[in-house]
Symmetry: C2
Subunit: 203 residues, 2 copies
């Protein structure tokens, strides 16, 4: 008679343990394929970050080295153009240097997010700084774009003459840098949206 | 003897049901105070959105109506300044109108997110468009800031003379609008970071 009692108790214990296994470990709540998907998104984030670093560094280097000296000069003056002739270009150079530095420093955090796709704290830190840096990149790129438009076309209403007729090579180099900065800014915006998808609760 | 078997079975059934209750409904996984916290964040998001709308609309209206006619004129020409003298200001006006329109249209989604703080799809839609609009706001504001810096100070290297000595009131109005657009842009960046915190898995 006692043996039958033991058997019935064992059955109930097994029934009781099954849901316990479901509720406690994370791997069961968020299944394996989804974990792989999140890891893929994190790796994509790292690759985008690499591209953005390249674009920002390229933009900074292009503006920093862009220099043009005209072949003719007067007794007192030599016609020369470089980045520190325009305060906006100085701002652009500093902003691109800051963004490049941040992007390089952010890579260890991005790698942590690849190793642990469910860690939210490093991801949130990345989102906060990414947003600030995206703002800085777009602001500096856009300011230089406005000035370069003026340098190419001038403005008859305000009597600002185009300078790119004389300094064509300089203008081309800076315009290329503007494109680079906009690529970096767009990539950063994509990284922010990607982070939002990674942070999304898998419910 | 049979009664004692029944009692032991009931005990086991209760033990088995307890974890089942924990794992199935959402309210148990994410407790009530946290739900209130998320709701509070969603309401804060709505308020920030209202402020950003005000700032963007104000900036658009200020630039659109800024106009100054100088008190002297020649036989052929009257000195007048308004937004369509500078292409950057036209871009700024369009961008601010688009951002204001988007912010007003986004409010129903923001209200849905207040009512259902755990709905991720409307929140993700908001994040994607907020990011794009933050980029547009900062780009247009920054472009006008660069042009206005030039209008205030001029640039001796490129022979661009300051025009704000003549058109002081016009320059002041546009500079105010730039401040408004930067406020709107900063609020949008805050809204993106806030959305990331709301989307964060509560694990």
């Amino acid at each position: 008679m006692e043996t039958t009692i033991n058997i019935s108790e064992n059955k109930e214990t097994k029934k009781g343990k099954a849901p316990l296994l479901v509720s406690s470990p994370k791997a069961a709540v968020e299944p394996q394929p989804k974990r792989g998907f999140k890891k893929g998104l994190a790796i994509f984030d790292f690759l985008l970050r690499l591209c953005a670093t390249g674009a920002a560094l390229g933009a900074a280097a292009t503006v920093g080295t862009a220099q043009q000296t005209l072949p003719f000069f007067t007794q007192f003056f030599q016609f020369q153009a470089q980045y520190n002739d325009l305060p906006t270009l100085v701002f652009f150079l500093i902003a691109m240097a800051v963004v490049s530095g941040y992007l390089i420093l952010s890579m260890p955090f991005s790698i942590i997010c690849i190793i642990r796709p469910y860690a939210t704290t490093p991801r949130l830190i990345l989102v906060v700084f990414d947003t600030a840096m995206a703002g800085l990149t777009i602001a500096s790129g856009s300011a230089v774009a406005a000035i370069m438009y003026l340098a190419h076309n001038g403005n008859s209403n305000t009597n600002w003459l185009p300078i790119c007729q004389q300094f064509g090579d300089f203008c081309q180099a800076v315009s290329g840098a503007v494109v680079g900065s906009f690529i970096a800014g767009t990539l950063l915006l994509f990284i922010i949206i990607l982070s939002a998808f990674i942070l999304r609760r898998s419910s």
